[in-house]
C-alpha cells in the first residue's frame, strides 16, 4: 500500500519555523550591512563597514577570547565530572531513583535563579563559599576570579545533563563485554579505557556538541551573575551583542556581532557532525 503525502501535516511547523527563524536570520544578515539606529529611525546601507569595524574592535576580540575560554574550560570540566558521576551511578543500589532525581535538580533550576543563588554564595562578606574556605575573595569583583566563578556556576548547572546522557550511553553497553574482560583478567582501569570509553565515544561527541553550542552562546547565566563585568572580563559574545543591541541601540553593529555568533555556532556544529558521521561509518 502506498503511503499518503504528509505535506498538509507538516506545513504549519515549516511555516512557523520559516517565519520565526529562517526569515529573521536573513534579516539579521541584512541588518549587519546597515547602520541602524532604532530610536531615530535611521537606516543606511554601509556595506562592509560594520565588519571592518569589528576587526578593529578590541572589545569584540576580548569577548571572543572570554567566550572561547569559558566554553573550553567549562565543557571540559563538565565532561570530566559528568563522566565520573555517570560511572558512579551506573549500577544498581538502594535509592538509585531518588539519587538520579536529585542529580537532575541543577538542570531543573531556572538559569536566572541559579545565577542569583550563586551570587549570594559568592558574596564576599557573607557568602558561604568564603566562609567555608576561610577566605575573603571578591569572587565577582576581581577580574581573575569572576570568569572562574561564572564557569563554576555553569559547571554546577549543566553537569547533570552530561551525567544523564552518559548514563544512558553506559546502559547500552552490553554487560557481557565487561564480564568477558573480567574473565580475561582486565583491571577496572583497563576496562574503563579499553571498553567503556571507546563504546561511549559517539555519545560523548553528542554531549560535547550540545554543551559546546550552549556554552558558546551563553547569555543569561553570566549576564545575571556579573553583567559582563568587572572590566568586561566576563563579557561573552552574546552579552556584548545584547548590550550593543539593546543598551546602545545600534542594531546594525549589534546584528553584525549576532551574525558572527551565528557563524561560529554553525562551524562548531559542522565540525562535530563531521566527527560524528566519521565515527558511525
Amino acid at each position: 500500500m502506498k503511503k499518503e503525502s504528509g505535506n498538509r501535516f507538516i506545513f504549519p511547523a515549516l511555516l512557523i519555523l520559516f517565519l520565526v527563524t529562517v526569515y529573521p536570520v536573513f534579516y539579521v544578515f541584512y541588518l549587519s550591512f546597515h547602520r541602524r539606529l532604532l530610536i531615530f529611525d535611521i537606516s543606511k546601507f554601509v556595506g562592509l563597514d560594520n565588519y571592518l569595524f569589528l576587526l578593529r574592535d578590541d572589545r569584540f576580540w576580548n569577548a571572543l577570547k572570554n567566550t572561547v575560554y569559558f566554553t573550553s574550560v567549562s565543557v571540559s570540566l563538565e565532561l570530566a565530572i559528568g563522566l565520573s558521576i555517570a560511572v558512579l551511578l551506573n549500577r544498581s543500589f538502594r535509592f538509585r531513583g531518588v539519587t538520579r532525581a536529585v542529580v537532575l535538580i541543577p538542570w531543573a533550576v531556572p538559569t536566572v535563579v541559579s545565577a542569583r543563588m550563586w551570587e549570594w554564595i559568592y558574596n564576599t562578606d557573607f557568602g558561604i563559599l568564603n566562609y567555608t574556605l576561610g577566605a575573603k575573595i571578591n569572587w565577582l569583583g576581581s577580574p581573575f576570579w569572576a570568569i572562574h566563578a561564572a564557569i563554576l556556576m555553569d559547571v554546577w548547572k549543566t553537569t547533570p545533563f552530561v551525567a544523564i546522557l552518559l548514563i544512558a550511553g553506559l546502559q547500552v553497553i552490553p554487560k557481557e563485554l565487561y564480564m568477558a574482560a573480567k574473565v580475561d583478567g582486565a583491571g577496572n582501569w583497563a576496562i574503563f579505557r579499553r571498553i567503556t570509553l571507546p563504546l561511549l565515544k559517539p555519545i560523548i561527541l553528542v554531549v560535547l556538541l550540545f554543551r559546546t553550542l550552549d556554552a558558546f552562546r551563553v547569555f543569561d547565566a553570566v549576564y545575571v551573575l556579573t553583567g559582563g563585568g568587572p572590566a568586561n572580563t566576563t563579557e561573552t559574545l552574546s552579552i556584548y551583542a545584547y548590550k550593543v543591541l539593546f543598551q546602545t541601540l545600534q542594531f546594525g553593529y549589534g546584528s553584525t556581532l549576532s551574525v558572527v555568533v551565528f557563524l561560529c555556532i554553525g562551524s562548531i556544529s559542522v565540525f562535530y557532525i563531521k566527527l560524528l558521521s566519521k565515527g558511525i561509518k
Binding site: A13, V98, R217, S258
Partner: protein
C-alpha cells in the same frame, strides 16, 4: 564493606554537590534579615515567612507568576499540536525531502537566540506585539518545535506501520488515524515532551528580557534578574522568590524523573 561505604560516601558527595546550593537558598529564604549577615552563617534559628509574604504583598509577583504560567502553558499546547502533526507525518507518511527537513529542524535547534533577537524585536515592535504574552508564545513555540518534533517522531516511529495500514483499509482518514490511534498510543511521549517544553518556556530569559517591558507580560526569570533593591540587594526576597518558582520544577523532576531522562536522551543515544 569498606568498598561499599566508600561508594555511599561518594554518592552522598554527589547528592550534596547537586542539592547543596538550592538547600542553602531555601535556608536563606527562611532567615530574618539580621540572620543573613551573621558570621558564621547559620542555617536559621528563627525561621520566618516574612520574605515570602513581602514578595507577594509588596511586589506584583502573583501577576508575574500568572504571566509565566500562561506563556508556558500556551507554548506547551501549541508546540505539542504543531509538533505532533509534523512528527506523525515524518514518522508515518510520505514526505518529500524527509532527510532534508529533519536536518533543517535539527539545525534550527542549534540557532543561537542572540542571532535572531534583533530582527524578531523589530518585527514584534512593528506588529505592535511588544510586551504581550503572544510575542513570547509565538517565539517559544517556534524554538521548542525542534524538540517536540524530534522526541515525538521517535515515539511515532515505534508504533508499527501495520496499524496505520489497517486503519486506512477500515476507512479512517489520515487525520483520524492521527488523533484516534496515534495520539492515544503515544501519550507517554506527549507527556515527556510537554514537561520539557514547559520547563524550557518557564526558564527562558533572553527573549523575555527583550520583548517584555512591564509587569503586564514580564515573566519570572526577568523579574528575578531585575529584582529591584533600593538601598541594598534584597537577598531574602530574592531567595524566597527563587524558591517559589523552583519548587514546581523540582516536584516535576521527582515525579517524572524517568520521563524527563527519556526525553533528554531520546535521539541523543539512538540517533
Amino acid at each position: 564493606m569498606i568498598k561499599k561505604t566508600g561508594f555511599y560516601l561518594l554518592v552522598m558527595l554527589v547528592l550534596l554537590y547537586c542539592s547543596g546550593p538550592l538547600l542553602w537558598q531555601i535556608a536563606t529564604s527562611l532567615k530574618p534579615d539580621y540572620e543573613l549577615t551573621v558570621i558564621p552563617p547559620v542555617i536559621t534559628e528563627n525561621p520566618t515567612t516574612v520574605h515570602y509574604i513581602s514578595v507577594f504583598k509588596e511586589r506584583p509577583f502573583l501577576r508575574i507568576i500568572l504571566n509565566s504560567a500562561v506563556v508556558a502553558s500556551c507554548t506547551t499546547v501549541l508546540s505539542l499540536i504543531i509538533g505532533s502533526l509534523s512528527a506523525f507525518a515524518l514518522a508515518k507518511m510520505r514526505i518529500r525531502y524527509k532527510v532534508f527537513i529533519l536536518g533543517f529542524v535539527l539545525s534550527v535547534s542549534m540557532f543561537p537566540p542572540i542571532a535572531t533577537v534583533s530582527p524578531l524585536y523589530i518585527i514584534i515592535r512593528e506588529l505592535g506585539l511588544r510586551d504581550t504574552w503572544l510575542a513570547l508564545i509565538i517565539t517559544y513555540t517556534t524554538f521548542s518545535l525542534p524538540l517536540s518534533i524530534w522526541i515525538l517522531t521517535n515515539f511515532f516511529k515505534e508504533i508499527p506501520d501495520e496499524i496505520y495500514y489497517a486503519a486506512r483499509i477500515d476507512g479512517c482518514s489520515p487525520f483520524q488515524i492521527f488523533y484516534k490511534i496515534m495520539l492515544p498510543l503515544s501519550i507517554p511521549g506527549i507527556f515527556t515532551t510537554a514537561i520539557l517544553v514547559f520547563i524550557f518556556s518557564w526558564n527562558e530569559f533572553l527573549f523575555a528580557l527583550t520583548f517584555t517591558s512591564t509587569t503586564s507580560s514580564r515573566t519570572i526569570p526577568v523579574a528575578i534578574a531585575l529584582f529591584p533593591g533600593v538601598h541594598e540587594v534584597p537577598w531574602g526576597e530574592i531567595a524566597a522568590a527563587s524558591v517559589v518558582v523552583t519548587i514546581p520544577l523540582i516536584v516535576l523532576v521527582f515525579a517524572f524523573q524517568k520521563r524527563i531522562v527519556e526525553g533528554l536522551t531520546s535521539g541523543a543515544v539512538k540517533g
